[in-house]
Symmetry: C2
């Protein structure tokens, strides 16, 4: 009698992440784990995207925040399905938190799910939520060195957004140095420089997004 | 528009434990999380039970062990479905490990599942596996004071087995002191003194078990 021996143990987070990812796939949903420092423009990016989004793509949002529902209220004012997760003293979302929101969302009637993680370039790194895409948003005022200072989160990204390009000049932002930093940790993720304020560059990101469906 | 706000967050382990428990319930399986120190007699207890078990109850076993499959091979020699989980440097099973074994077990054709945890009175405490019952086995040579020294694992037990009663005299084991210790941390769990070696007391445990189905 052959005894099955199980050695490569999955963590509970990996298992729940797998379940989330399967559910998204089955329902044709692209789920985006949106990570970035506080003030990088995560919520603005979601709103900029939603405002310009093709009418064929129905968005929904999960808002991660330690205690408030300020961002969720802003998104709800656009009449978009939104669920707030208050993480308390935990500094990132995990797969079980995402899973716990899903019964509140119109899974059968949505195509694009933004999962706004808690504002940090450290803690969300490496936590698989079961998202279809991992995205990092950083912004001009944060400086060019962020990919080198936070290599893990940039290395795991499927796409990177550089926000607030409208103020690049006043910050003397060295874009090629930034891109070099990105490429030293991540060889493949596309980088979208854009401004949620002026709308510059948002269409390029949308074109790429449409190609994912 | 009312925003759902999720605050009482379930951990991934809790979610997977819930899934395991639901699966057991749906299939009429009693899953027993069997915890105890190394040498308490966990595997002997499983074999003593299986040898005397009513033919109507089909057993299966998950064996947790840091590296070996010695216990699993012993159980397989009885022609019982068994899966080995090697936990490596982790000192207890968790719900995801149990979940990862389930596809190797005849879920539709089993009634009683022993989940032999890694030998320890500390690490398995408080990890919900999704079992129907949490059981602690301790043995005469370990002494009367174990419930007081390891209150968490005894407090969470649904039943407690005191093994190796055949050597109680030579160890001058004070049974009433042991029972007092149990009751100081756990007011309700039944205690079954028995000897896997002689079989004394095993029928009482089986009668109780049959009452759970």
């Amino acid at each position: 009698m052959k005894i099955p021996v199980i050695k490569n143990l999955q963590t509970a987070n990996e298992q729940v992440a797998w379940e989330n990812r399967s559910l998204f796939k089955q329902n044709g949903i692209i789920g985006i784990n949106l990570m970035g420092a506080p003030g990088a423009g995560k919520t603005s990016f979601i709103l900029s995207t939603i405002e310009r989004l093709s009418k064929n793509i129905r968005p929904a949002v999960i808002e991660g925040d330690s205690a408030t529902a300020i961002d969720a209220e802003l998104i709800a004012s656009y009449n978009i399905p939104v669920v707030q997760v208050n993480t308390g003293d935990r500094c990132n979302l995990d797969a079980a938190m995402v899973s716990s929101t899903l019964s509140y969302l119109p899974i059968m009637n949505m195509d694009l799910l933004f999962i706004e993680n808690v504002g940090s370039l450290i803690f969300p790194a490496g936590y698989d939520l079961g998202s279809s895409l991992n995205m990092v948003i950083t912004s001009i005022p944060e400086g060019e060195d962020k990919p080198l200072k936070f290599p893990k989160i940039f290395a795991d990204a499927d796409l990177i957004v550089l926000n607030k390009t409208d103020v690049a000049e006043s910050f003397n932002f060295d874009k090629s140095r930034f891109l070099q930093g990105v490429r030293s940790v991540n060889g493949t993720a596309p980088v979208f420089p854009l401004s949620c304020k002026t709308g510059e560059g948002v269409e390029e990101w949308l074109e790429w997004l449409y190609g994912r469906f």
